[in-house]
């Protein structure tokens, strides 16, 4: 009989089962441009979407969400090149007619309200208004105005053509775990 490992109390088997067959990619760890690119390109290999439009949407949504973790996670680590990058979790799944992208990371509670407000604004706008909002935010960012961030979230909603789902779980008095989920319907891959 194979001896049970005693040097960690974590069942990789349970984790493996938890990551059911709908999950294409799951990653937890430091996120930087190199890691994002490798995972992003890997997703394109496993999604089996031959069409360029589908690939563009999947890659762009993944990259934008992963960048939020990279740049805004309150947990970070130093890589061997000395750069500090955000830590977080990235999960991409495929279920029926949808791809679902979920990313999560720890945030300072002080930063939570602007993100929630931004998501609520994004979800309340139709496509044309969302494009106008992106133009406006880009112009403000270009002028160096404060509070003009999160253009990436507008970009995600526009590319995925669906609302953003956000969930907050308190970690302690100062921090929460923020997860952002978005779906892409395969109907959006059709040309228009």
């Amino acid at each position: 009989m194979v001896k049970k490992k005693e040097n960690y109390n974590f069942s990789l088997y349970e984790y493996h089962n938890l990551m059911n067959q709908n999950i294409l990619v799951s990653y937890k760890g430091p996120v930087d441009e190199r890691i994002m690119t490798v995972i992003g390109e890997n997703i394109l290999l496993v999604t089996d979407e031959g069409d360029g439009k589908a690939k563009n949407k999947i890659f762009k949504v993944f990259m934008e969400l992963a960048q939020n973790v990279w740049l805004y996670s309150a947990e970070s680590c130093k890589l061997e090149n000395g750069k500090s990058v955000g830590l977080g979790t990235l999960v991409v799944s495929e279920c029926g007619d949808y791809y679902t992208f979920v990313t999560g990371n720890v945030v300072n509670n002080a930063d939570v309200v602007p993100v929630i407000e931004k998501c609520e604004t994004i979800n309340s706008l139709d496509r044309e208004s969302l494009r106008e909002y992106r133009r406006e935010q880009r112009r403000l960012a270009n002028e160096g105005k404060p509070n003009s961030g999160n253009i990436g979230l507008i970009q995600v909603a526009l590319t995925a053509e669906s609302p953003l789902d956000i969930e907050l779980t308190p970690v302690n008095d100062e921090e929460s775990f923020l997860s952002i989920a978005v779906k892409i319907s395969k109907d959006n891959f059709k040309n228009n």
């Binding site: 441009e33 563009n56 934008e64 960048q67 253009i151």
Partner: protein, 114 residues
């Protein structure tokens, strides 16, 4: 990292590839400085963009560059901008249209097949 080819003899400036650098300012500030320096004596400039993917901080820098070109045009300079995008990438197509609105520049939209 995008590929950049700025030619001070022909006035042709090409930015192509993918752009999702962490320190976009470090990358794009010298490019904007180059353009500003070039335009001090130039009569015309041509900008060619072919970016398959660019992140949001890059998007801000594209607007900055287009703003510099618009100012040059207002002062009598000749500006030509061509923006290549994959023909089925309707998100990119819409985004370029929004850049036309945001910059008030004429941008030739050039769909291509991969």
């Amino acid at each position: 990292m995008p590929a950049v080819d700025f030619d001070s003899i022909t006035g042709k400036c090409v930015i192509k590839g993918e752009s999702f650098l962490e320190e976009t300012a470090k990358f794009y500030t010298p490019l904007v400085e180059w353009i500003n320096r070039y335009l001090r004596t130039a009569k015309r400039i041509e900008l060619i963009l072919q970016l398959k993917y660019f992140n949001t901080s890059t998007s801000k820098w594209i607007l900055t560059i287009l703003g510099v070109l618009k100012e040059f045009e207002r002062n009598g300079g000749e500006v030509k901008v061509e923006w290549y995008y994959y023909k089925d990438d309707t998100d990119m197509r819409d985004d370029i249209k929004d850049y036309i609105l945001g910059s008030n520049l004429k941008i030739d939209m050039k769909p291509f097949v991969e």
